[in-house]
Subunit: 174 residues, 2 copies
DNA sequence: TCGAACTTTCAAAATATTCTGAAAGCGATG
DNA sequence: CATCGCTTTCAGAATATTTTGAAAGTTCGA
């Protein structure tokens, strides 16, 4: 199944990570490191690191079977929840530091000090505004415990329903 | 200015591309290949390829100065318009092919043929639904000639205004 | 048609990222 | 406290991506 390779790009996580994640998502039951190594044909080290990364992203969790020393791993089963976790992390890792740098740069070149920096600064401000808005929008989507983006979807258009044969989130409450 | 390196990740384009783009955005005036080579200290080939890629993404355009054979390049000056172009391209390049593959896979394992594939297929359907919604949402954001996301921002919350000192889109039409 | 002035291409080199596997760690158990 | 079963680490190998630069291509004016 090469599809999962593609999703990696779309989601901004690395290829093997995506494959491990996919395997957990699709099989729907807890798997241990050896299962993953075998099914994906990757090394133990790689499996361990990918799993750890997925744990850091908060889209996979540890599980244990009683009477078994091995660690099993479980994947969040709701796509929207997964998505929210990913957005949360990417904002934290990419947007926030970027904003910090932008502020810093802007403060380093105040118009009073650097003549002719005015248009320059207007553009910087536009960027800062843009990313601030993205950051706030993201926070909105991410924070509610319920399903935030589905709400957004219906807000933004009249196409709330899914296109495929089943409904999008299994646990949607009427 | 190492900041632009960061933006590359956030936007999903390559590092040098982002730097070229940034240079054009910040300087705000048309630059030719040699300007870019010099300011960014990159090879001619690299400059040429990055520019071409930016043209393909539709966020940079060619310009000419009369009486000069050289090609100059100009960058879209409105951040939201840039963003829309990027979303449009990423959907076309990543989401659409992904959706196609998902459909294909689902059709390859119909429940009638593969017993026990039912839960499997439910999860696939959930994914298909998710990406379909993303795709439609994206289309909504991208299509209007006006500023779609700012509208979205105000729709989704009460924080329509920017955080910095100037307003976000210089050429907003009343 | 020629050549000057640019631009594009692409194979090879440089760089960056990802993966492997053996060794070290860690806790539970005898 | 020695060993077993399992997990993590990390230097080096394998792979993938990006960059270079020289050669080929293009365009235009004379």
């Amino acid at each position: 199944m090469a599809v999962w390779g593609q999703m990696a790009g779309a989601w901004g996580i690395s290829r093997t990570m995506a494959e491990v994640h996919a395997l957990l998502y699709i099989s729907g039951e807890p798997l241990c490191t050896d299962d993953i190594m075998e099914r994906l044909d990757i090394s133990r080290g790689n499996a361990s690191m990918s799993l750890r990364a997925l744990l850091d992203w908060g889209i996979v969790e540890r599980a244990h079977k009683r009477g078994d020393r091995k660690e099993y791993f479980n994947c969040e089963q709701d796509v929207w929840t997964m998505f929210r976790a990913i957005v949360r992390e990417r904002i934290k890792r990419e947007v926030d530091p970027l904003l910090a740098s932008l502020f810093e740069i802007r403060d380093l070149t105040p118009e009073s000090k650097v003549p002719g920096a005015t248009t320059h600064n207007e553009r910087l401000d536009a960027l800062v505004d843009f990313f601030s808005t993205v950051e706030k929008l993201g926070a909105r989507f991410v924070s509610p415990p319920g399903r935030g983006l589905q709400l957004a979807a219906s807000l933004l258009g009249s196409f709330a329903g899914g296109s495929s044969s089943r409904n999008a989130s299994p646990e949607a409450k009427p």
